[in-house]
């Protein structure tokens, strides 16, 4: 029929027999995703002259990851909660609680793998507990996790006796502050005295880029073979080049300081796994469906209670992981640890384009949102501005980011 002519006519490349999406459509469809990256770059660039470009320095970039990975990990769980129209206010307290328990477990002689496993198991159990009330007893997530916030803070005070628990040695904190090169005792491959390059992150970066390019090319060819629309060759290559360059530059930065931080591996794996779950698995589809319209999801045969339950289990597990990392970073388990973690994670989600209406949000988006938060915190610390100012600036950024999001969404006719 007449309408079947693809309005997305062959871009300016004119590849024969390949249906390409023209640049305008592509740009319009993805403007919100791109703009988050642009905002991140913009914020870094605004700070740069004020801190004499130290924020792009190898040491500083590495430190950002050491210091703020917990936000990224929590945001990956939080985005799923918000997609299904929930929220988790308890993550900060849970981090403190799990941190305290794992510090005790570690100090009692269990190795780091055991401690990590324990953290994840405790986290999942806490998530399951809260998820049970939310999914099956139909208590709003806000209430259940508000109760959880108080409950686990209280339990933390009880188990720690309101005293910090210091870790018996440095083994615990490797995960949070160590690098692959140090653990594997890799020496620098370039060493001129003032300039060193450690190998692990470089190898990793090159390997990732290679994998990424190969998988993208295969996916594109498969699309073409099936006659689906693809972006034109030029745009495709441009995208690959940009992303590869970013990865390699970051790898080089890590290499120049202490090598590849282990937390970066942890965050990277977490992001990859949950990105995959949300985009490519049946479970992920169900999560979006429940968030998009739970009544319709139900009639499509989706067990929305189970999905809600699973999401909160994920959140609990990620809170457990974040607990180990934040405790390791401090090198002690503090009873008042994890203060406002939930707010950071929620802010990261909203900066990262998650919709308060449910059903919309991506892992990549909230990671960028988390990095935006980290970049602001970091920039202001470099400028020696205290916590007070950081709060004010973060508040403005959250407000503006969400305003921008709502505005572009309305313009694109998305409500």
């Amino acid at each position: 029929m007449a309408m079947n002519n693809m309005s997305t006519n062959g871009g300016n490349m004119g590849d024969k027999n390949i249906r390409t999406i023209d640049f305008k459509t592509l740009f319009r469809n993805n403007i919100r995703n791109y703009s988050m990256f642009l905002i991140l770059a913009l914020i870094m660039l605004i700070f740069a002259p004020m801190v004499s470009w130290r924020n792009f320095g190898a040491r500083n970039l590495t430190n950002i990851f050491f210091q703020y990975s917990y936000v990224l990990i929590l945001a990956v769980g939080m985005v799923q909660c918000i997609i299904i129209l929930g929220i988790d206010l308890s993550v900060g307290s849970v981090c403190a609680f799990v941190g305290a328990l794992t510090a005790m477990i570690y100090n009692s002689g269990a190795g780091m793998p055991m401690t990590l496993a324990a953290a994840l198991v405790i986290g999942v159990s806490i998530g399951a507990f809260q998820g049970f009330w939310i999914a099956y007893m139909k208590i709003p997530a806000f209430i259940v996790t508000l109760a959880g916030m108080m409950l686990f803070r209280g339990l933390t005070y009880i188990v720690t006796n309101i005293n910090p628990i210091s870790l018996k040695d440095n083994g615990y904190s490797y995960l949070a502050t160590g690098t692959v090169d140090e653990v594997l005792k890799l020496g620098p491959i370039v060493d001129t005295g003032s300039f060193r390059l450690y190998p692990a992150s470089l190898v990793m970066g090159v390997a990732l880029v290679a994998l990424y390019i190969i998988s993208e090319v295969i996916a594109r060819n498969k699309k073409i073979a099936n006659g689906f629309e693809v972006s034109s060759t030029l745009i495709f290559i441009g995208k690959l080049a940009t992303i590869s360059a970013l990865v390699l530059v970051l790898a080089e930065r890590f290499a120049e300081y202490r090598g590849l931080p282990i937390v970066v591996l942890v965050v990277g794996t977490t992001v990859f796994v949950f990105h995959f779950i949300l985009n490519n698995t049946v479970l992920g589809r169900y999560i979006y469906a429940v968030g998009g319209n739970s009544r319709s999801a139900k009639l499509s045969g989706i067990n929305s209670e189970l999905i809600t339950f699973i999401v909160f289990c994920f959140m609990g597990m990620l809170a457990g992981l974040a607990a180990v990392i934040s405790t390791g970073y401090m090198n002690t388990a503090l009873p008042q640890a994890g203060l406002n973690f939930e707010l950071d994670a929620i802010a990261a989600c909203y900066i990262g384009g998650v919709s308060a209406g449910g059903g919309i949000g991506t892992v990549v988006g909230v990671i960028v949102g988390g990095l935006v938060m980290s970049a602001i915190n970091n920039g202001m610390s470099l400028m020696n501005l205290g916590q007070h100012y950081q709060y004010v600036v973060k508040a403005m950024v959250v407000l503006l980011a969400v305003f921008y999001d709502v505005y572009t969404r309305r313009k694109a006719g998305l409500g």
Binding site: T8, N226, N280, R285, I302, G359, G413
Partner: protein, 507 residues
């Protein structure tokens, strides 16, 4: 005063990837009933949204003249001020507010910011009387059936002192009786000098009330007729709508129903809020292999409630009775279980129970059958695309691609997406609740032939329908319901409109 109250010249409106309106001209005479016809996605609703300021000046090209001057609305409020009232395709009442609040919401006068509700309750009675709605104004809107809600919408429009009333498919969710009443109301308005613009897919209604008919096709205005002077016929309109003749609207079919596949015995369902009220009362029926059953009856007869309570207990606080499928009593405790037992259900309420509006066509189609296109819990995106593309072609869903968000589709095309989803789930017993609501004549016959094909393949179909011709044309047997009870059953041969009405209302 000039002859035309509303005049549109060279109107073009584009959405990303879609030219919804393409150089449209339209002239509506003062005091007439003007009907707009066209296939799903032809641009009818978009045209009305432009006229009423939903899409503000500047977002379209061309001119709109209302009462002789060119309009430049920024929002619906502006058009309301000038006496233009629109009733959208999807009802836009506030479900938890009362009738009178809904009528006056947004345009009531206040004293120091305080509303004198008593005055409005009294005043709303006046409008309710005009539209013939016999309900206390304090009634919460969500407790009313769709037909009555429609009347509240009209009362709301009247309370704004409209000179022109735009109705987008006002009868699509009404049964014949209610439609009749509504059409009479529009004719009554005409006598009082109110102009009406009505969009409808029910061509018999169009010919009955309209003075002028304008046909849109692919966003263009292709023809405009004076119904009386041009002796306009349905087939003429259809030809203009689809660009070709459409010979048989109910495809022929030879049915040879086989053994009984489903039997419902003494099924009783209780109201979700008022646990003592029986919404479905001691209903028994059976369904044979390869058979098409229709359930007819007035709004509120309990048909939807019956079907939803069978499909995974999706309705009601409690139900009693037995459902046998192939002689066995399967678990029907959740929708998933019902689907595993071979049932499929298409809801009549596509917006709140059918679609996920913020997701695209592809995802909406595949959501109920991801098991078929996944391995080890991983969705195979390419296969999903292929399947979605197939349905988009088969049902002629109008959109630039399967990546279009369903909220941006026209009403009829949304319905086609809902139908596609159930087709993909491929149930043995297919329960369809108003499957052709808001669908144009061409697509209707496509859906009918799909249902016929399914029956021919040995699947069984239960069709809840408020359109008697559809039930008469399609069904092997027709169950007539009213007030939660089955009032009788007619075979294809013996059924007539009169008999159905008689059964529903008399005993």
């Amino acid at each position: 005063m000039d002859e035309y109250i509303l005049e549109i010249k060279n109107l073009t409106k584009e959405f990303p990837g879609v030219r919804a309106l393409d150089n449209v001209d339209l002239r509506v005479k003062r005091g007439e009933i003007h009907s707009i016809c066209g296939e799903n996605g032809a641009g009818k609703s978009t045209l009305m949204s432009v006229i009423s300021g939903v899409y503000p000046k500047g977002s379209y090209e061309g001119q709109v003249f209302f009462k002789g001057h060119e309009t430049a609305y920024h929002s619906v409020k502006d058009s309301e001020k000038e006496g233009l009232a629109i009733i959208h395709q999807e009802l836009a009442l506030s479900p938890y507010l009362s009738i009178y609040e809904n009528i006056f919401l947004g345009h009531m006068q206040t004293k120091f910011g305080i509303i004198n509700w008593d005055r409005y309750i009294k005043e709303s009675n006046k409008y309710l009387k005009i539209v013939g709605l016999n309900e206390p104004p304090e009634t919460i809107v969500s407790k009313l059936g769709v037909g009555k809600q429609q009347l509240v919408e009209i009362a709301r429009a009247l309370s704004k002192k409209a000179d022109i009333l735009i109705l987008d498919e006002p009868t699509s969710s009404l049964n014949d009786d209610e439609s009749e009443k509504l059409l009479d109301l529009i004719l009554e308005f005409k006598k009082q000098g109110i102009t009406s613009v009505m969009i409808s897919h029910k061509l018999n209604e169009v010919l009955k009330v309209a003075d002028t008919v304008t046909v849109l096709r692919d966003g263009k205005s292709v023809a405009s007729y004076d119904v009386k002077a041009d002796k306009l016929t349905e087939s003429r309109i259809i030809k203009d709508m689809v660009g070709r003749d459409l010979t048989h609207r109910f495809p022929d079919r030879k049915s040879q129903p086989g053994d009984t596949v489903m039997e419902v015995k003494n099924w009783t369902v209780y109201h979700p809020d008022f646990h003592k009220i029986k919404v479905v009362d001691d209903v028994s029926f059976f369904l044979r292999k390869g058979e098409i059953l229709a359930f007819c009856g007035p709004m509120g007869a309990g048909r939807t409630e019956l079907m939803m309570s069978i499909f995974g207990r999706s309705y009601g606080s409690r139900s009693e009775g037995e459902v046998l499928i192939n002689g066995k009593k399967p678990d029907l405790g959740s929708c998933r279980a019902a689907m595993n037992a071979g049932l499929g259900y298409i809801s009549e309420d596509r917006k709140s129970l059918g679609l996920i509006l913020i997701q695209d066509i592809k995802t909406n189609i595949s959501n109920a059958s991801l098991g078929k296109i996944s391995r080890f819990g991983i969705v195979e995106g390419h296969q999903e695309m292929l399947v979605a593309e197939k349905y988009r072609k088969d049902l002629n869903i109008r959109s630039p691609s399967v990546h279009q968000m369903t909220r941006n589709l026209s009403g009829g095309n949304q319905q086609k997406v809902v139908v596609s989803r159930s087709l993909m789930a491929d149930p043995d017993i297919f329960i369809v609740d108003e499957p052709t609501r808001g669908i144009d004549v061409g697509a209707k016959s496509e859906i009918y032939s799909i249902l016929n094909d399914m029956a021919a393949q040995g699947k069984s179909i239960i069709m809840v329908s408020s359109e008697l011709p559809e039930a008469l044309g399609m069904a092997d047997r027709i169950y007539v319901m009213n007030e939660g009870k089955i009032k009788g059953v007619l075979t294809h041969e013996e059924a007539t409109q009169e008999k159905i009405m008689h059964l529903a209302l008399v005993n």
